[in-house]
Amino acid sequence: MVVSLPRAVRALLEVHLRTAFNAGLRNAGLAVTTLALLGALALWLLLLVPLCAVGVYLGVSLASNVDALSTASGALYAGAPLFGAVVSLMTGDTQELDFEKLEPYPMPPWALFFAELLASFVHPVMAVAAGVQLSFAAGALGSGAGLGVLVALVTGLTLQAAVRSLLASGAARLIRRAQAFVVFGLAAGPVAFLAVLSRVGEERADELITRVGSELGGLPGGLQATVTLRTGLGPGQALLELLGPLAAALLLLVLAGRVARRARSAPARTQEGPARLWTFGAPVWGVARLQLSALWATELGRFTVFLPLLWVVFLPLRAQAPGVEPRPELVSLFIWVILPTTLAGMTLNQFGLDRGGVKALFLLPLSEADVLYGKALGLGALLLAQASIAALLVGVLVPQHPAFLVAGPALTMTVGGLQLLIGQWTSLAWPRPIPRKGLKQPAGSVLMSLVIIATLFGTVAPLGLVWWALGSRSPVGLALAMLGLAAAVAALHRVFTPLAARAVAVRREHLVEALS
C-alpha cells in the first residue's frame, strides 16, 4: 500500500500534540492543563518581549560600547544553545525521536526525522528557546547588521534542533551516529559565526554578514569561511583555533555513544561472571547506590552526564573577546546553572527509574524518609560527578580564578538540591516510569516543563545576582558563599524530607499503580 508522506507526517505531528495534551490531562486534569498551556504561552511572551528589547538595545549600542556589550552578548549567545539543549532534554517524549517505536512503520527515516523536527518547534517550551534566539536576532537587526543575521540565526536554530534530535536518536540507535556528526559539524558554522558577531565592531559585523551570507548556500563552505574570518589571520591558524573545541565536542560525542552502546549490550555482562556484591553501612546508602546504579544503567542517565558538556567546549569561543576585559566566570555561569536542569526529568520524578520495582522498595524494611534521603544522595552524587567533569573542562577551556571552579559546582549543587526538594513532591504528584532504553525523558507534560522552568528561573535569578555582585570583587568570597548556600540547602533537606516522607506513605498506592 502506498503511504502518503504528507499524511504520515501530519499523523506524526498530531500524535505529538495528542500525547502532550493527554499527558497533561492525565497528570493534572483539563483545567490545570489548559492553564498550563496558557501559562507557557504567557511565559513565552514575557520572555520574548523583554529579551527582544534587550537584544535591540544591545544591537544599537554595539558601536558605542563594544567591550562590555560583546562580553554580555557573548554570554547570552552561550546561554541560547545551552537553554536549547535543556529544553530538548526536559520536554522528553514530545520531542525526541523514538526509533524503537517509529521504526516499524513504512516511512523513510528522513520523513520521521522531518516530522519530529517540525514537532520540536510547535512545543511551547521549544517556542521559549526560539524566543530567546529571536531576541538575539532583534539585537542584530537593531545594530543595522541586516537580514543576513536573521537568516543565520534561524538556520542556526533549526540546525540546533536537528542536532539535538539526531544526537538523541543517534545514541538510542547508533546507526544514526554518523549523521549526527555531520549535522553537528554543519551546525558549528552558524554557532561560530554568532560567536564572532558578538565580539566585533559594527563595521566588521557588516563585513562578516555579507561574506558569510554569501556562503550560506553551502554550509560546509560557510564553516570554512567563518573560521577564516574569525581571526583574520589566515585559514590555517583560524582552523586550528576552532579545531580544538570541535575535536573536544566530537570526543565527547564518541564517549557518549560508547557509553550508550555499552548500556544497550548489557547482556554481555552475564558472561563476565558474578557481579560484585553490594555492601553498605546503612539502608539510606543502599537506596542511594540503587538510585545511582539505576541511573547509570539507563542510556538516558549516562547520556545526561555527557550531553550538557558538549556545550562547554564552545565557551572559549565566547569568552576570549579581543580587547575586552574578560569576565569568563560570567560565561561559565551558564554551565553551572544548566547542569541540574539536565537531570530535571529524574530529580522531579525520583521514583521513575524504579518502575514496577517501587513495590519491592516499599516491601523492604525501610522508612519512607530513608528512601527519599537515599534517592537524593544518589541523584546528588551524579550531579556532583557531572559538575566535577564540567569544572575540569571549564578550568582547561576558560581560564579563570580557581575559586570560581569551586563556586560553580557549589552553585550547581545548590540549584540541584532545591530541585530535589521540589522533586520529592512532584514525584508524588506525577510519577511516570522512566524507560531504561532510549533517551526519552518522561517529563513530557507541559505542567512538568513549567515546574522545571519555574525552578530554573526562581533559583537562577537570585543566585546569578549573587554571582554577578561577588564575582568581580572577591572570587574566594563567592566560593565561600556558594558553599554556604549548598550546605544550607542540605540542611533544608533535613527539615523538609520528613514532611515529604509522610506524603509518600499516603501516596504509596498511587505510586505503585502509576509506575507498575
Binding site: A11, V15, N22, R26, P104, M107, I175
Partner: protein
C-alpha cells in the same frame, strides 16, 4: 515463489555475547511457525532482525522476497509485528493509537475505524473512551498491540509472546483468529513459552537455544513416536536440574 521468511547464516553479536549464532531456515508462504526457546535463547533478537528493527552482524534475511536491510520499507509495508514489549504510545487512547498506526500504513480513517471496531469487538476490548493506554491492564495492552499488528492486513505477522496475560476466553478467540488468518494465506511466526499453544497452533517448529537453531521442521518429523513437544524441547536444549532445594 519467494519464501515468506528466509534466514541464511544469520548471526547477531552484542560485544562478546553471541545472541544468534549462524541460524538458517526457510519458511514458505502460508506457514505457521512456532519459535520456542528458553529465556535469552535468541528468539526476540531473531524476530527483531526479521522485522528490520535490528541488523544482523552477518548473514542475510529475506522477508517476502525483500532484503530486510536494503528493502526495509518494502518489508515494513507487508508485515505486522507485535513485539514482546508491545512498543505502544502509551499517552494515547487505544482508538487514537490505532488511528495513528493506520494512517502510517496509508489507510483511510473510515477503514481504520471499521477495522478497529471489528478487532476490538472480537478481542472483547472495550476501554473507557478517554482512558490512556498507560492506564490499561497488561492484557488490554496486549490486545491493542495485536490489533495494531493486524490492522493493515499484513501478509506476514510476527507475534512475540502474544498470549501472555490474556484471559482463557480471549486466548481461545485469538487462536481461532490466527488459524483463520493462516487459512487465508497469511504467514505467521509466533514465539511463546507456552508449549501447549505452539503444539496446538503451529505445524512448523523452530527450537533455538544459546542462539543456535537446535531443530526446525514439522513437529511430527522432529519428535519421536509418543513424544510431546515439551519432551522434545527438553531433549534438544538439555536440562539437568531437579527442582529441589538443598536447604528447604
Amino acid at each position: 515463489m519467494e519464501a515468506a521468511l528466509e534466514l541464511a547464516h544469520v548471526s547477531k553479536r552484542f560485544g562478546s555475547l553471541v545472541a544468534v549464532d549462524d541460524v538458517s531456515f526457510r519458511l514458505e508462504r502460508g506457514g505457521f511457525l512456532g519459535l520456542v526457546g528458553r529465556n535469552g535463547a535468541g528468539k526476540s533478537t531473531t524476530l527483531k532482525m526479521a522485522t528490520g528493527l535490528m541488523a544482523p552482524t552477518s548473514g542475510s534475511l529475506r522477508v517476502l522476497g525483500f532484503d530486510t536491510r536494503s528493502d526495509s520499507l518494502e518489508v515494513k509495508r507487508r508485515i505486522g509485528a507485535m513485539p514482546e514489549d508491545m512498543a505502544l504510545l502509551e499517552m494515547l487512547t487505544g482508538p487514537q493509537y490505532l488511528r495513528f498506526v493506520g494512517r502510517m500504513h496509508g489507510l483511510e480513517d473510515a477503514v481504520i475505524d471499521a477495522r478497529r471496531d471489528e478487532l476490538f469487538s472480537l478481542l472483547e476490548l472495550a476501554p473507557q473512551p478517554r482512558a490512556l493506554i498507560a492506564d490499561y491492564s497488561f492484557g488490554m495492552k496486549k490486545k491493542v498491540a495485536l490489533s495494531a499488528a493486524l490492522l493493515h492486513g499484513p501478509q506476514l505477522v510476527f507475534l512475540d509472546e502474544p498470549f501472555e496475560g490474556i484471559d482463557p476466553v480471549t486466548r481461545r478467540v485469538m487462536k481461532d483468529l490466527l488459524l483463520s488468518l493462516q487459512r487465508k494465506g497469511v504467514t505467521l511466526v509466533l514465539t511463546t513459552h507456552i508449549l501447549e499453544v505452539v503444539e496446538a497452533l503451529c505445524p512448523l517448529i523452530a527450537i533455538i537455544d544459546g542462539g543456535k537453531l537446535k531443530g526446525f521442521g514439522p513437529l511430527e518429523e522432529l519428535k519421536k513416536p509418543g513424544q510431546g513437544l515439551e519432551a522434545l524441547f527438553l531433549e534438544l536444549v538439555g536440562n539437568t536440574r531437579t527442582g529441589e532445594l538443598s536447604w528447604w
